[in-house]
Amino acid sequence: MINIVLLSLLVVVAIGIIRMKDLFAVVMLTGIYGLLSASFFVAMDAVDVAFTEAAVGAGISTLLMLVVITMTGRKEKATRHKPFAALFVVVITGGLLVYGTLDMPLFGSADAPIHNHVAPRYLNDSMQEIGIPNVVTSVLASYRAFDTFGEVVVIFTAGIGVLAMLFAHRRREEDEKLAAINDSMHEKHLVIRIVTKMLIPFILLFALYVQFHGDYGPGGGFQAGVIFSSAIVLYAMLFGLSAARRVVNQGFIQLMAAFGVLCYGCVGIASLLNGGNFFDYNVLSNDPVAGQHLGILLIEWGVGVTVASIMIIIFFSFAGRREIQQYVEQNKNKESV
């Protein structure tokens, strides 16, 4: 029942997004869409996925879109588009998909092929083979560890890509001026700054909890990384980019991003050197289960470090670009006056 309600809400939000012209509203609705789908994932028993979707769909991606909107303007121009061609494509694709669903196993039925071929082994044997209760973590970090490695590399690629697009060197004087502007806003942000200062340590603590509790409950390196970075992002938003850069500077954060990927890969290399296959954690220790524990701990750490630093890099790149744009505009205005 609850899933039908959530799905209908999702449809309403999607229609809203199609019809809205105000980009700010569109972005907020997208965040709501992410949050609703996260709730749907909880109803579908996918707690890990829900956690991630809430952090990413409703958190980071909304934030990034908002930053971009401040740079590009929030009104969409009401130009004439080609709705008929689009409708044509959409109807064909959708029709094909509906046609495809007709022979699908019914929703929730336990005798569907996916529940009877590969998955049972994960559910039945992972306790003996890997020894941690969260099956999603054991599949993610051990059975299909290479996919997760790929995932870390994807996020690493995105970070480097964003850097390659937006990175711009700042001169010292610019930096100082921008910092001064920010300091002058202290009064304006007083309340929120104080509350944030109280919250940040707890956010960091929570990130560490999620990082290390991933074996027993929902969570893991990726979610922890996102939460950790959100603390830094919050700090940067309120205390200015220059202040945040003094905490984590560009060189250091790049190093950490690279370090995370290397940490993950080195676990694989270590198992190669110990005579196993790549990512075979059994050989990391005398006792296979202990080896699995060690391997999973290390790679989750790698994931967390990379994700946190890449998220910070991405946010810093966007925000840095924005500050420079504003700075240039202000200078222009001064000249014209």
Binding site: T70, K188, H189, V191, I192, V195, M198, L199
Partner: protein
């Protein structure tokens, strides 16, 4: 005793839901941004506090109660702050409460360019 706890927690939940709902109605019925903010900001915080308290009574697991208390603290801290920041941002951007004379609009236009 158990019956009493169930009834009390049920009451908490009901009142909490009612408050949240009234906030939702307020957001639709009130005339302008600030009054709407007021409707949601006040009722939502209290409403969720009520709901959380109700839930705490229902659970027997200490860990769950501890987690709920954490959530409660977070809401108490964040809810009012966000309302405050939202209202402040709206005011800084030159949004006038409904019914204010148009003279004031002139004065506030200068500050409309600054943004949080």
């Amino acid at each position: 005793m158990e019956l009493l706890i169930t009834i009390v927690s049920g009451l908490f939940l009901l009142v909490g839901s009612f408050l949240c709902l009234s906030g939702g109605v307020g957001i639709i019925r009130f005339p302008d941004f600030y009054t709407r903010m007021h409707a949601v900001g006040v009722t939502d915080t209290l409403g969720s506090v009520m709901i959380l308290t109700g839930l705490m009574m229902q659970s027997s697991d200490l860990l769950v109660i501890a987690k709920l208390i954490m959530v409660l603290l977070l809401i108490l801290l964040v809810g009012p702050t966000t309302s405050h920041v939202l209202a402040k941002a709206a005011f800084h951007n030159g949004l006038q409460p409904k019914g204010l004379s148009t003279e004031n609009k002139h004065n506030n236009k200068e500050s409309s360019s600054s943004n949080t």
